[in-house]
């Protein structure tokens, strides 16, 4: 992957980042898919040599700054997510696309769960199972996103 390819990776990651922090009406917030998580997962699976834990860490720090979360909270969650996907990327290559989606749901769910744990350290929060919704919707988007990104990548000759 040349410098152009790497720029493209960062471009898509930043696009996902913008979608992740885009202001939405309060009632819609829980329905926002985990854009950043899904896209980071895609690049970890597609190019495990280039994208990994440190990318998750940097993006997580930026997310912390914008969301006003304690510094390091999202950094830890996203680097953990990248790590999990790096451990499992070889399996992804042999799974069918819907099996992949199920695995994506499980891994995103684990990341969201860790995030909720970190939140409880910092004080009272309102607890409900709603925190799994972003992971669920993100995993439902996975087949389309994966197919689209593969096509774009082939067209641009990246990876």
């Amino acid at each position: 992957m040349g410098p152009f390819g790497y720029l493209f990776v960062w471009f898509t990651l930043l696009l996902a980042f913008c979608l992740q922090v885009m202001p939405l009406p309060d009632a819609w917030l829980v329905w926002r898919p985990d854009w950043l998580g899904v896209l980071l997962a895609y690049w970890c699976v597609a190019t495990p040599q280039r994208v990994g834990v440190l990318h998750g860490f940097v993006l997580g720090l930026m997310l912390d700054l914008i969301e006003g979360a304690p510094l390091g909270q999202n950094a830890l969650v996203l680097s953990l997510l990248a790590y999990l996907f790096l451990l499992l990327y070889q399996r992804f290559r042999v799974y069918s696309i819907w099996q992949q989606a199920v695995l994506v749901f499980i891994l995103l769910g684990i990341a969201q769960l860790v995030e909720q744990w970190l939140r409880t350290i910092y004080g009272p929060i309102s607890l409900s199972l709603e925190f799994l919704l972003p992971a669920l919707i993100g995993s439902l988007l996975w087949p389309w996103l994966f197919t689209m990104m593969q096509a774009v990548r082939r067209r641009l000759g990246i990876g």
Partner: protein
């Protein structure tokens, strides 16, 4: 000829990097808790990501702008009429307010009570509501340059919104009263009973804990800031009681209230500068002790006592006016 790609390519072992990131992340979380230098660094870094904040607020700005551009003339005329009506009502109230304020000052002078100073303020505009569904915060376009400080009270047109929790050069972050981490000392406007109003994480509900079963609190009661704690100035509306659950077997009642401010609809806010600005470098209890005067306080023996002469004078004045 391109070399054949291996079917399974092995990247670098990520475990060490993961460990490094975990240590860094926990270190940051701990350091932010303990050292104020991290807070300063954070406020500078936040200025760095401000362009992204601005970028993501563009679509909603665009929608607002285009909605205005394509809204038809009739809608604009209607809105104009509504605003004129509102202006008339408000200016009528302001006129009455002026005479009431004068009368209030006069009566307070008769009672030898100090006059409450006007609270200065600056206006601020909403940059973004929080993108996280589990916290209730927002970002406004005033920062250290406008001498915003941490703990500063924020109002909208109708009531208390919350307080500033972090400040960067040009923006600051406001924790809303409805956040699960927020609590504000309040009193009932009708009878002065004092409570604490806690956020629940839902925008439309506050929780009032520890209300004795015998307390005189009703649905519809207005809760205003009590000024205790020294952070919020006294007398600003916070919430309206919307449910009181009495159970005869319990010593406390379950009371919930609905915030009066409308963070979802307001775009413009007031940042108040209460006259007693919190002093730096004081411990929590000490800071409270300096700013709160409680009944029976040895330092201010007469704070809540009305002198007999003043009362007689006021009563005489009242009867003279009636005659």
């Amino acid at each position: 000829m391109r070399p054949i790609k291996p079917l399974f390519s092995y990247g670098p072992i990520p475990t060490y990097r993961m460990l490094l990131c975990a240590v860094l992340a926990f270190g940051l979380m701990f350091a932010e808790h303990r050292f104020s230098a991290v807070e300063t660094a954070r406020s500078h870094l936040t200025s760095v990501v401000a362009p992204i904040q601005w970028l993501v607020s563009l679509p909603s700005e665009g929608v607002r702008w285009s909605a205005m551009a394509i809204s038809d003339q009739q809608a604009l005329i209607d809105e104009n009429g509504r605003l004129r009506e509102q202006l008339l009502t408000l200016s009528n109230r302001v006129q009455r307010m002026a005479s009431l304020t004068a009368e209030n000052i006069h009566l307070r002078e008769l009672l030898n009570a100090p006059n409450p100073a006007d609270v200065p303020y600056i206006t601020a505009e909403l940059l973004s509501l929080d993108s996280d569904p589990f916290t209730q915060q927002m970002v406004i376009n005033r920062g250290r340059r406008d001498s915003v400080y941490i703990g500063q009270p924020v109002m909208d047109a109708s009531g208390l919104i919350g307080q500033v929790v972090s400040v960067s050069a040009y923006t600051s972050r406001v924790l809303m009263v409805a956040d699960a981490n927020h609590a504000v000392p309040v009193e009932i406007n009708r009878n002065g009973l004092r409570f604490i109003a806690q956020g629940t994480g839902q925008l439309d509900t506050l929780n009032i804990p520890s209300v004795p079963a015998t307390a005189d609190i009703r649905e519809g009661d207005l809760l205003v800031t009590s000024g205790l704690g020294g952070r919020f100035p006294q007398g600003y509306p916070v919430a309206r009681v919307d449910e009181v659950k009495r159970e005869s077997s319990q010593a406390f009642m379950e009371v919930s209230a609905e915030p009066i401010s409308q963070p979802e609809r307001s775009r413009y806010f007031l940042l108040l500068f209460p006259p007693e600005r919190p002093e730096e470098n004081l411990s929590g209890p000490e800071r409270m002790a300096r700013q709160v005067v409680w009944p029976g306080d040895p330092a201010h023996p007469d704070a809540h006592r009305i002198s007999e002469e003043a009362l007689t004078a006021a009563l005489e004045l009242q009867s003279a006016e009636q005659e």
